[in-house]
Amino acid sequence: MRIYMHWPFCRSRCAYCDFNTRVAGEDRMKRYCSSLKEEMRAWSSWLPQEDRKVTSLYIGGGTPSIVSGEEMGALYREAGRRFHMMPGAEITVEINPATWSRHDFRAAASSGINRFSIGVQSLDHDLLRLLGRSHNAEEALRSVQYAQDAGDVVISVDLLYALPGESKGALLTTLDRVLELRPHHISLYALTLDEKTPLALMHERGVITLPDEDNAADQYFNALEKLGSEGYLQYEISNFSLSGYRCQHNLAYWRREQYLGLGAGAHSFLGGCRFHNVRSVLDYTKRMQRGLSPIEEWEDLTAEDGLFEEIMLGLRVCDGVPESLICKRGNGLDELEKRGLLRRTEDRVLLTSRGMLLSNLVLMELLPV
């Protein structure tokens, strides 16, 4: 089993963020924390023994690191009491720079948390400010170093590219500095403007301009090359790692393995069914306090849906999907191969680098809708 735990609180909200998060005080976080513990207890009593064996746990947000390393450690230990953490299980916490001290990282690591995913995003002061990040470049790099000092842990760094006004070389410049620290894992995401976020409004009003498609594509391909030459292997559209450090938890999503989501708005995929909890923190804590189920909505998947998902998710990963899945979808395959978007190995179909950046168009051809 994989467990995702959502921490829907931040110190302040970033200008591009439309995730389920809010700024809240100590009391609310404490109540939320007890609700999480209650949800863990409930699930552990329902799930069969076999499904309580956990191979990865991911605490994401929001900003889990606005609480101390000790508190995070305590939350994880609670999970350890309710579920059976398998040897070698990957335990990740998302960290915002400038939240945790060296001490926090150590405290978290000593509780058993063994992977830190740090949201560096950019090393450009002006852009960080524009994005509404509450840290500067130095603080971001320092966080990576603190995490490294915490012992035998895996470090991942999140970076954004195609940011407002960015030049073609921006991502490479950032990468140069990040790679000096040799994190085990790097994620690269192009900035997307989600409706109604402050950044999207600024864009609508012409206050900021985004780099065009060619700029974004150039940045991405230059980064692929750079990371490859530094020993980072691409294993998914946006994810790169030194050998042996791929993120097991995220791979499980793409491989359609089952996972349990805990907390407000968390998504689960269990027994062939997708469902998610209520988004509102208030509703979630209320329901937990009254002993009600926090689940808001179920989606039963048909065989067709399953196939859709398998292709949509599987193609994101570098080893692709079995050709047998796709053959059912007609003759679009040859065309996509001819255009250099797909490659075929003996029995698998996978995206080329060009195809990865155009995966929506590829999926459009292959997906049953």
């Binding site: 995401y189 192009a190 995929f269 949509m312 255009r339 950046l357 155009l358 929506n360």
Partner: protein, 604 residues
């Protein structure tokens, strides 16, 4: 009522010179409309007319007026459209009158169309009462305008009346003058019926309403009426007049203006300009002057939603009833699907038809760039008329292409002469002569290709004269031109919707604008897409839409797969709505945007 107490008259005026306001004062003074019902500008019935402040459909209203000497007169005010697009309708409504009030704005002075219509009225033998309006305006120059009007008509300045339709000043005197000076109608009421259809309307429940002026004889309920041009015959169910609402009466006699309802549902059977006679005792000859108005400007009209095709056809059928000049024939476009090639009198007519279709029938439409009709001499089929550029014969069989020309009259203050002369030259105009009407107004006469007017000549004329110049024109026939068909090819396939006929030396410039525009509008595809402009087989402009490089969803946050699926499904649905040109997917919005630019940018 005795015929010598009837006065049939109209008001000739340029847009905004105050015709509708003057009509309102007439209705008030004659107490035709009760005061509480008096909406401003009563005669402009259609919502669209009211909004635009122009009269599209001719109306006719009967007013009773007690003159000073105690006699009561029946005044029939026939409203006429003011725009050059509707000159045929103007001529039909003039035909129904004996007198005309020529109304000129004291601040604006005489405009080209006013001159055109005034001469038309003189030719029809109407008695003209010149009137200068808006004398209450601070910017008015009544003296100067009176002189101009007097010069124009060759009358004494003292014969020109001065009024303010807004305040009512001088309007009573004007009505007295109408009664005194307008000749009473002639025509023998004992003769066989001959009545002119000068307009028509459609009533949902009762069918076609024909607006008529009885020239000879009489018409009453129960009579079998024959429409001579179309041959349609039907019993008259109702006879009446407008006061200004429809009011039924026993009989209409020679000299009267009113309407008849025959229960006929087929709008095409009642045409403006036709003669109504008694089917049982038919007149030998129809009244002179009937012809089918000839549309000169054509455009493709397509429903945005292809399911609306039948609705569009029904709407056009209905509209045709009181848009006599509108023509339409089905056509298909690979980009826009099924639609109609519509013929219009001019651009304003086109805009009005579009607005009425959208407003009154709730249709969402795409209109292609308008073009004129071309007369093409071919070596194989003789003379053919091309209403859609994509139907232009192969270059090899064309002997000559002729395009419609107009005789244009432009009136403007002398200080804008230079700029306007230049414009005329740029737009292939042939300058003829120039006359000073007064110290502040010059008349330029020239010949122009109608295609230039369809393009943006009028907009340019207005902008280069700060709105002071005015234009009038009449068709003078086809003139040979150095014209070629320009095709636009997307990924090597011609797209009919963008084909056009242009002057040869402008083909390159036009092709460049179109290809550049399309490059910006068409989304990038999986492969490079060439966009080319070609004359015959020769490419005159080319752009390339670079292959798409990035279209990927961001991270799948916290395992929310459902959201990702929905985004992809939405994108796929959008893709289904795309129009395919070969293997290129083009959103319909791109087509619409490209069609919009053609007119705006090509003239430059």
């Amino acid at each position: 009522m005795e015929r010598n107490r009837i006065r049939n008259f109209c008001i000739i005026a340029h847009i905004d010179h105050g015709k509708s306001t003057l009509a309102d004062r007439f209705l008030e003074i004659t107490q035709t409309v009760p005061e509480q019902k008096m909406a401003d500008q009563y005669l402009d019935r259609m919502e669209l007319e009211r909004e635009r402040g122009i009269t599209i459909k001719a109306q006719a209203v009967r007013m009773l007026y007690s003159a000073v000497e105690g006699n009561e007169y029946r005044l029939n005010l026939i409203d006429t459209p003011g725009h050059v697009d509707f000159s045929y309708e103007v001529s039909r409504s003039l035909e129904a009158c004996e007198g005309a009030v020529l109304l000129v704005d004291a601040a604006q002075g005489v405009e080209a169309q006013t001159v055109g219509n005034a001469y038309l009225a003189l030719e029809e033998g109407l008695f003209i009462i010149p009137v200068v309006n808006k004398i209450d305006l601070p910017s008015a120059d009544p003296q100067g305008t009176v002189m101009e009007v007097a010069d124009l008509l060759g009358v004494e300045p003292g014969d020109v009346l001065e009024v303010s339709a807004k305040t009512g000043e001088g309007v009573e005197e004007l009505l007295r003058t109408v009664v005194e000076k307008t000749p009473p109608p002639e025509g023998d009421p004992e003769k066989t019926l001959r009545a002119l259809v000068f307009d028509s309307d459609y009533d949902m429940y009762r069918g076609v309403v024909a607006f008529i002026r009885v020239m000879e004889g009489k018409v009453n309920k129960g009579m079998k009426a024959l429409f001579m041009a179309t041959g349609a015959a039907s019993e008259v169910e109702e006879v009446g007049f407008f006061a200004p609402d429809m009011t039924s009466c026993e009989i209409l006699e020679s000299g009267d203006v009113g309407y008849i309802i025959t229960g006929m549902k087929d709008v095409s059977m009642v045409k403006v300009g036709d003669t109504v006679t008694n089917a049982k005792d038919a007149a030998q000859m129809p009244l002179p002057g009937y012809h089918d108005p000839k549309p000169m400007v054509f455009a493709g009209v397509y429903p945005v939603d292809s399911d609306d095709f039948t609705n569009l056809r029904d709407a056009l059928d209905r509209l045709k009833l009181n848009e006599a000049a509108l023509t339409f024939a089905p056509e298909t476009s690979r980009a826009l699907g099924f639609g109609f090639r519509c013929g219009f009198l001019g651009l304003l007519h086109m805009e009005i038809v579009q607005e009425r279709l959208e407003r009154e029938y709730g249709l969402e439409l795409v209109i292609t760039a308008p073009n004129v009709v071309y007369e093409v001499e071919t070596s194989q089929e003789g003379t053919v008329y091309v209403r859609n550029p994509s139907e232009m014969p192969e270059a090899g069989v064309i002997k000559e292409v002729r395009e419609p020309y107009v005789q244009a009259t432009i009136l403007l203050p002398p200080n804008y002469m230079g700029g306007i002369m230049e414009l005329v030259k740029e737009r292939r105009g042939i300058y003829q002569d120039m006359t000073y009407l007064s110290g502040r107004r010059v008349e330029i006469r020239c010949r122009l290709p109608l295609a230039e007017i369809v393009m943006d000549f009028y907009d340019q004329l207005k902008s280069r004269s700060r709105g002071y110049a005015s234009l009038d024109y009449e068709h003078i026939g086809f003139v040979p031109g150095n014209l070629v068909k320009l095709d636009i090819l997307i990924n090597k396939e011609p797209v009919d919707t963008f084909s056009c006929v242009v002057e040869k030396r402008r083909a390159h410039a036009y092709g460049k604008i179109m290809t550049q525009k399309l490059r910006q509008l068409i989304p990038r595809q999986l492969f490079d897409v060439p966009v080319q402009a070609a004359v015959g087989g020769r490419i005159v402009a080319r752009e390339t839409i670079k292959a798409k490089r990035k279209d990927v969803l961001a991270k799948c946050y916290g395992g929310d797969v459902t959201r990702k699926k929905k985004l992809l499904q939405r994108q796929k649905e959008g893709k289904k709505r795309m129009k395919m040109v070969g293997r290129v997917e083009i959103p319909q919005e791109a087509f619409i945007a490209a069609l919009k630019v053609t007119r705006e940018e090509i003239g430059k």
